[in-house]
Symmetry: C2
Subunit: 295 residues, 2 copies
């Protein structure tokens, strides 16, 4: 069940260790989603202050690193399981910052990061899932997508890039695709970084105020911002249609960066703990190897 | 000129800021290379102690992060320049650890990491540079290769995987390929992590002593270790033939992890400083954008 961010003050004092953030932030599939009822500056299930949040996040580091190493190690013995973190959100919602934060825990050699931009001509000549499939994590890896196939039901919907009927089919295609990933051992963790309209204004103004950040600024971002409500509707539809048991959507309030980082870290921790990957046993004679090395 | 590690005690007291590590560690192309004359536990040009080394390395962090951001930012305005760090070295020389260390400085979204393993059947059906070209960094990115096309003149030479004449041609092919990369704006930084035979023994024994590290251990590693001298010769040949102005080889003594990390960080810093990428100026009216955002 998703928690309505606006009401999340209750019970925040409990130790987060005892809560299952996956249940708290999961968007219920099938039911109508109203994004305006989720406060983007809420901190559901999280620590109460920024200082506590930073400490709690740092405190997850060692366990996350070990779980990733175990996941990777297990793959060398044939375990096909892997994790795919999908990040979506409006411009300035912090997708890039989240990638940088998350990767800090892991050995980057075991991660596969991909940022999806405007499709190239070659990508457009293929079905929309083609470029996604080429970027999937391999067994033992953690994949991180900064944007994803959801762009094909978000910007594609808002700007009517494809006929409405074709768009309508994509939700089902996405669900079947994600089910096939789950069947193949991929834990798909989809995170919608939910920021507020006012917060986006502040972040865009910050970019304008710093000449070293002008390269990140595109006046077109202001045009897109004018379509805010259309995008919110497109997100609501994507969350409603594609939050499945095989690949649930999590709604992470993202106005507060410290909460966003804590929540994404915690979601990863819970998913990796559930996988509980194990170091494989060596199938060799340790003593014999030791003697050979010393001999 | 390359410094002979064994004699590197002299002058270590000078502030590293005043030295050009690129000159100090560069392998002179064309001349005969004798790896046994380079002490793997030396610290040429580096800080004198581990504590100083760790502090000096951490001290480069902010500048490295900014230079990477500027490199990436410049690419959004058409600057095609990018950097490719190629890591080679014997088993346990610390290639993976170096990747993890280096990536810690950067925004991972601007990095392209690739670890080259035993070629797949598809890769074998293509020229040996095919899989390399597909993994190259794009403009603005920092590419990191854990192993590379050099495997095709290293393991391929030691195990005679291809006829000697074909092997001989590869050095020239590699040089022409790397020249074409340089011509296209790629700064190719090739680092040979030089560890000692005894140090490798210690690191392999450490893996044996810890059951959680057995997955990293392959008894075949001991067989490969028996070919140590053949591999050293293959490395000497690769360094002799392929240390060019377009793409020099740097020899980094790697028995001491703190020196290895310091030296690779410093080489990256010097190369990025030489590129001196600039934030592009925005080509939009800042005041007008601000008004639109506030309006």
């Amino acid at each position: 069940m998703a928690s309505k961010g606006g009401k999340s003050g209750k019970g925040d004092g409990k130790k987060p260790e005892r809560r299952d953030l996956r249940r708290l932030l999961r968007v219920p599939g099938g039911a109508r989603v109203d994004l305006s009822s989720y406060a983007p500056d809420a901190t559901p299930g999280g620590p109460r202050t920024k200082a506590e949040g930073l400490a709690a996040t740092a405190g997850m580091g060692d366990e996350l690193a070990e779980l990733q190493e175990r996941l990777y190690a297990a793959s060398t013995a044939g375990d096909r399981r892997r994790l795919l973190l999908v990040l979506q959100g409006m411009d300035t919602s912090g997708k890039g910052g989240t990638v940088k934060h998350v990767i800090g825990f892991f050995n980057p050699s075991g991660c596969r990061i991909r940022s999806f931009k405007t499709p190239t001509r070659e990508e457009l000549n293929h079905p929309f899932l083609w470029r996604i499939m080429r970027a999937l994590p391999q067994p033992g890896e953690i994949g991180i997508f900064d944007r994803s196939h959801y762009e094909d039901v978000l910007i594609a919907r808002v700007h009517e890039l494809v006929p409405r009927r074709q768009l309508g089919r994509r939700y089902g295609q996405i669900n079947r695709f994600e089910q096939s990933l789950a069947d193949d051992g991929v834990s798909v963790v989809k995170v919608f970084l939910h920021i507020g309209h006012e917060q986006q204004r502040r972040r865009l103004l910050e970019r304008l105020d710093d000449p070293d950040k002008h390269w990140k600024f595109d006046p077109g971002d202001i045009d897109e911002r004018a379509l805010w409500l259309d995008y919110q509707k497109a997100y609501e539809k994507a969350l409603e249609r594609c939050s499945t048991d095989a690949a649930p959507w999590y709604l992470v309030p993202a106005d507060r960066k410290w909460y966003r980082n804590w929540a994404v870290s915690r979601l990863l921790l819970e998913h990796l703990r559930a996988l509980d990957p194990q170091y494989p046993k060596g199938d060799f004679d340790v003593e014999e190897c030791r003697e050979r090395l010393l001999g």
